[in-house]
């Protein structure tokens, strides 16, 4: 590994430990202690903060590891050092994603002290969205780790832009964090995963230069905007006065988003 790669590894490690460290610490301190009653009954939402964190952590590892082993550059696949580098980098991107989530309105206390199950869903799906965007950036051959960072950053920038547009058009943040509406959290979360997956596919493929990568990103990634439009319409049509009033409609809609993203990626075929 070159000096730059070692630096990238250490920097990613530091970002990962810090980002995931405070989540784990908070969960261990607050959530684990009082999530059950003296007679062993679980409190609503109790323990889910820790579970969401653990699942997110394992999901990052599983998805990135699978993609690296099967679709990464030919010099990365057989080299354990590079597998570790890109794996740790994936955790770092996901850690940065939790900071972006804080800008969105989500806070760590929503996970643990408030035991908000809608916030757990938001956290987990947003992490998956970030992982999909990052995993796509690892697909194909390229000259070095910096192209992975560029493509992953491009995909995340697209993801965050659309999330901000969606937040501006809808009251989703309020419905998730204050109303604690699990259906809306699931629907919006699935939309984020769908956007992350499509944008990940848009930056996937063999490296052909910055201009080509950026061009592919816009050419293949533009349909993600349709998810925001569709969800804005759904949010207005399916608006309910009740919390969790449209739980099954929201869940079904979320799954439709995922299927639509999978269908689009299937139609595009393998990246070149």
């Amino acid at each position: 590994m070159s000096d730059a790669e070692v630096f990238a590894l250490l920097f990613s490690l530091a970002v990962s430990l810090h980002g995931w460290g405070w989540l784990a610490t908070r969960g261990a301190l607050v959530d684990r202690r009082l999530w059950s009653t003296p007679d062993g009954r679980m409190r609503p939402g109790g323990g889910f903060g820790c579970l969401a964190t653990i699942f997110a952590w394992f999901s990052i590892g599983a998805v990135v590891f699978y993609v690296l082993l099967n679709f990464a550059a030919s010099d990365v696949k057989p080299d354990a050092k590079y597998i570790v580098l890109y794996l740790v980098m994936g955790y770092a991107f996901a850690a940065v994603n939790t900071i972006a989530l804080r800008v969105y309105g989500w806070k760590v206390p929503d996970m643990f002290e408030r035991r908000n199950r809608a916030a757990h869903t938001l956290f987990y799906t947003a992490t998956l969205a970030s992982v999909c965007a990052y995993a796509g950036a690892n697909i194909g051959d390229g000259p070095g780790f910096y192209v992975v960072i560029y493509c992953a950053a491009l995909a995340h920038l697209g993801l965050y832009t659309l999330v901000v547009v969606h937040a501006a058009l809808n009251r989703t943040v309020y419905r998730i964090l204050v109303d604690r509406d699990r259906g809306i959290a699931f629907r919006a979360g699935c939309m984020f995963v769908a956007i992350g997956a499509v944008l990940g596919r848009a930056v996937a493929g063999n490296w052909a230069g910055f201009e080509a990568a950026t061009g592919d990103f816009f050419r293949l990634g533009w349909p993600t905007f349709l998810f925001v439009v569709a969800d804005t319409i759904v949010a207005r049509v399916a608006l309910s006065r009740e919390i969790d009033g449209n739980l099954w409609v929201d869940r079904a809609t979320g799954i439709v988003y995922l299927l639509a993203a999978a269908g689009y990626i299937f139609i595009l075929g393998a990246p070149v």
């Binding site: 405070w22 908070r26 202690r33 009082l34 806070k107 009740e242």
Partner: protein, 260 residues
């Protein structure tokens, strides 16, 4: 890389789960909003007795259509909570103080003692699971001037700390009464009241000193809330690295630490 400025209670008190269950029974619909933080601290060496409470005027009854926000200082709020529990309300502690190294801006021990002192009386009351809520806040939560070396454990409430207006309406709650003494309501609570009013929850104020109940006349416009928040930011609460309130005020030679 793990945070070093955050409070680290040394082991959960043995009776923490029992105590939390008394204050936030799992069967109560409002327990999901009760804050667990204070229950993780060990009981102080000296216990205290709660101040006596007597009503002036005619406070609301727990009829089901009214929720209460108790915004009183220290253990006076806990004494009021017990009195409200006797009138059919379910006290919901939202105290979000933490403990750390150095002198605390808001002394935590009296709260921890107070929650313990009130627990037997509260446990003896047979409060229905669907009783309307009485949310408990400390009116001094943002008061005090932290100096270097102190542990700044001032805190604020957010809309996420309360049920939404939609949740209150779906439980039959149509108005909220803020119980406090003289003085303006803090901007953090005003912003919550503003959101509730937008969703159709009326807000009133009950002065526990005079017993008068009145419409809330305080300006809860967006501009007032925004300028209040800006003022609060200027005064700088400190969040620790894990996102909770509470951090040590750095000495001038140290720099950094907290934000705001």
């Amino acid at each position: 890389m793990l945070p070093t400025d955050m409070p680290m209670p040394q082991g959960l008190p043995e009776d923490a789960r029992e105590l939390f269950e008394i204050w936030a029974p799992v069967t109560s619909r409002w327990s999901g909003w009760a804050k667990p933080v204070l229950f993780t601290y060990a009981p102080p060496a000296t216990s205290i007795a709660l101040p006596a409470w007597s009503w002036v005027g005619a406070p609301p009854l727990g009829s089901g259509r009214t929720a209460i926000v108790v915004d009183l200082p220290g253990n006076e709020g806990l004494a009021c909570a017990l009195a409200l529990a006797a009138r059919g309300f379910r006290p919901v502690p939202l105290y979000n103080n933490t403990q750390g190294e150095g002198a605390e801006v808001i002394a935590l021990d009296p709260f921890v003692s107070g929650l313990r002192a009130a627990a037997p009386a509260l446990a003896a009351m047979n409060i229905p699971d669907d009783a309307p809520p009485a949310f408990l806040l400390d009116s001094n939560r943002g008061s005090g001037g932290p100096t270097p070396g102190m542990f700044d454990n001032r805190w604020a409430v957010f809309a996420q700390d309360f049920p939404s207006g939609r949740a209150l309406l779906s439980s039959g709650i149509e108005r909220v009464v803020v119980m406090r003494r003289e003085g303006a309501i803090r901007v953090d609570l005003v912003s919550v009241l503003r959101l509730w009013r937008r969703e159709g929850i009326a807000s009133e104020r009950f002065d526990v000193a005079t017993g008068t109940q009145s419409e809330l006349t305080q300006d809860i416009s967006l501009l007032a809330v925004f300028s209040g928040h800006m003022s609060a930011i200027m005064h700088g609460f400190r969040q620790n690295a894990t996102g909770g309130f509470g951090a040590r005020v750095p000495l001038p030679s140290e720099g950094g630490g907290g934000f705001g």
